[in-house]
Amino acid sequence: MRYHLGRTLRQLAVTIFGIVTVAFFLMRAIPGDPALYMLGDFATDASLEALRARLGLDLPVWQQYLLFVERAVTGDLGRSVVTGRPALDEMLAALPWSLSLAVTGLIVAVLLGVPLGIISAIKRGTWVDVVIMFVALLGISFPVFWMGLAAILLFSHKLGIFPALGASTEPGFWVQAHHLVLPAIVLGLSVAAYIARLTRSAMLEVLGQDYIRVARTMGVPEKRIYFRLGLRNALVPILAVIGVTFAWSLGNAILVEVVFSRPGLGSTILKAVLARDYQLVQAGVLILAAGVVLINVALDHLYGVVDPRLRQG
C-alpha cells in the first residue's frame, strides 16, 4: 500500500510538472507582452525595457523557466506582475468559489443525469426514452452562457425568485447559497445531459450481458436486475465520466462565472492570460492541474471500491 501511494504521488508530481511546463512555454509563445500591457499606449522603448528588466522578462526564456522551477519547488510562484500580490494567494482565494460551484453543479448533474439515464435505458425505444434523449441533446447543444442568460431572465427578472448575480457582497451562508442556486443549476444542467446519455449507454451495455439474461430466466425480479446487477456494473464508466465532468466544470465554469458575475479560477485565469500576467497564469494552471490529477487518483481508488475486480490492476 505504501509503495502504491509513493508511486501514485510520484506520478502525480510528474504529471503536474509536465502540465505546468507546457503552460509556461505556451504562455510565452503567444504574442503579447506584460510590459506593454502595463505601460500601454504611452510606452516608450526605454520604459518598456526598464520594466521588462524589473520583471525579469529580459532574460532568455529558458533562464526564466529555470528560475520559475527553482522558486516553485519552494512553494513560491512569484507575484502577479499587474497587482504585485502573491500569485498563489490570488488563485487560492478564487478556488473556494470554483469548488463550491463545481461541487453543487455536479450534485445537480448527478441527481438529474443518473436517474434520467437509467429510466431512458429501462424504457429503451419507448417515447420516454426518445423524449429524455432529445432533451439531453438540447442540453448538450445549448451554450452555457445562453442558458445562463435565459435563467437570469426567467428566474431572476420575471419571477424574482433568485438574484441575477451569482455572488453577494453581503456576508452569510444562506445569502451566498441563494446566489449560488442559479449558477449551479445552469452548470449542472449542461453536464446532466452528458451524464444522462452516458449512464444510458453504460446501462444498456450491462443489460445486454449474458448474466443479466440468465438472471431474468432464473426469475430475478426486474427491480433487482436493474439496480443490483445493472447499475452496480454500470457504475464504473458513470463514475469515470462524473470525474471527467468535475474536472471540466472546475476549469470551464468560466462562462457560468462570467454570466453570473461570480469570481472563480476560470475567470481569474482568463483575466491573467489577457493581461499576460505570467505568474498568475502559472499559479492557476498549477491549481487546476493538481485538482484534475487528484480527482483522477481519487476515482481510480473509487473504482476499486465499486468493482473489486479492478483492485488488483
Binding site: 504611452f42 502573491p86 468559489w97 441575477a164 456576508p171 469570481p263
Partner: protein, 523 residues
Amino acid sequence: MAEHEKSAGPSTGRRRFLKLSGAAALGVSAPFSLFGARMARAAGGQLRVRIGSDISVLDPALIFQIENQTVASHVYNGLVKYDQATNAITPDLAAEWEVSEDGRTYTFHLKDGVAFHKGYGALKASDVKFSFDRVRDEATGSRYRGQFASIDSVEAPDDRTVVIRLKNANSGFLHKVCAFNQGWIVSEKAVTEKGEAYKLDPIGTGPFIFDSWTAGTSVRMVANPEYFEGAPQIGEVVLRLIKDETASAIALENGEIDIAFALQQPQVIDRLKAADGVTMLSREANNTVNLVLNTTIAPLDDVRVRRAIIHALNRKGLIDGFFMGTKAEAHSVLTPTFQEYSQDVPTYDYDPDKARALLKEAGAEGFEFEIVTVALNPYDKFPVPMADDLNRVGINTKITVLERGAYVEARASGRVKSCITAVVGPPDPDSPLVTLYSTVSFPPGLNTSQYAGVDDLLAAASAEQDLEKRKALYEDVLQKTMEDVPVAPIYADRLFMAHSDKVGGLVQNSLFTVDTYSVSLTE
C-alpha cells in the same frame, strides 16, 4: 541569478502554502465568510455601482483602465480638478495659484486642513513634490512620464506652497496637474512604507477611503468623515464586478445594484431607457474612435488614397444602423467636450463615386487593405460594415481581429496598415492630438500612422499663453490633419450610465469614470 529576479517577490513559504491549501480545501463554506469581517454599515447607506472589469493598480503613477481610475478618483485629489459637469478647471487641493509673467513658473497654495486617510497625517507640499517627481523618475516606470515632460523642477519651499518651473511656457499646463492619472497626489509616507503593496492599498485625501478589494467580486470604499470639502452623503460605495452587460441591466432593474456605468450595447441601453424605476444618463465622451492609416505604406502614403477611404465609409449609416444612434458623428479627433473644439475643418461625406475617382487618380484601384482591430465589443464588430463599404469601391479589405495583448503588440510594431484606435483621457487637447499626430508618439506610441505634419503647430499651441490664439493654433492642427487624413475619425463616443430612482445628485462626467461624491440615496 540576476538581482531583480531575487527581489521580484518574497517567498510565499511552505507554511503559508499549506495554510492556504487548507483554507481552499474547505471549499464550499469558505466563500460564504469572505465578506464577513468588515461589513459594519456606515450611516449613510451603501451605494452599489457596476463595473465591467476587475480593478488592478491604484497607484497614480502606474494606473490605467477606467475601473481603476474610478476608484482612484474617489480616493485622491489633485492640485486642481475638472468640474464634473462642465470640464472647467477648478481648485482642488490648491486654494489658489499664480503664473509668472513669462508663463514658466506656477506657484500653488495648498488648502489648510487636508489630511491623508488612515492616519497618514496632514497633506504637505512635500507630498505634492514627491508625487510629481515620482512620475517623472524613469525608475518608477510610469506611463505618464511624458505628461510631465514640460516640467523643469518641482519645489516645496514650505508646507503650504508648491512651485513648479517649466522648461517652456505651457498654457495647457494645469491639465497636467489636474486630478486625473498623473495629477493625483499620494502620501509620501504611505508609498515609502508600503512599497509594492501600495499598488492595491492607496492612501489619498479624497472623499472616500479605500477599504478592501475582493478579486473578481468587488471593491469597497467607505466615506471619509474628515473630507476637507465635507463628508459624502453616502456611507460606503461598493463597486461590483459584473462583466455581462445584460446581466448588469437585470441586476439594476432588480435593485441588486444602484448604478450601471460604461454601458456599451445599444440593446441594453434601449432596454434600460424603457425600464421602470431607472434613469438613463448620457453625454459626449472626450474621445473619438478612429481608423488610423499608416502613411508609410504604399498606397496609403498617397493622400488621395486616404481621402478615398474616408469618402468610402458610410459613417452616418454606421452610427444610425449599427450603433442605433448611441454614438455621434465626428468631424475631427477632438469632440465638442474640448474647449479647443472647432467645426471649421475639411469634411468628407459618404461618396463612393468620389472615392472610386480618387483611387483611379492615384492608380490604387483594387489594392489590398487590412484593418487590424481588437477582440473587444464593439471594436471587433463595426469594422465589418466598414470593410463592406471599402470593398464596394474596390478596396480589397481584410479584417484582422486580435486579442488585446497581440493587438497592442502588433500596433506598437508600427507595421500594421491600419488599426482602430481611441484615445480616452481628460479634456486636454494634447491628449488626443499629441498622442495621434506627434512624432514623439511614434510607435510604440499611438502615432501608428507615423504622421509628421503638425509638430510645429502642436509646440506653438502649447507655448501660447493667450487662450484665443491657442485655440486658433489647435484649429490649424485640426484643419491640417483633416486635410492630410492620417487618421479617419469614425465616430465620437457617447457615454451611457443608468441609475435607479433611489439615487439622487449623480452628475455624469465625460471622463468615462463615475464620481459618487455628490450622490445621495433615498429608500
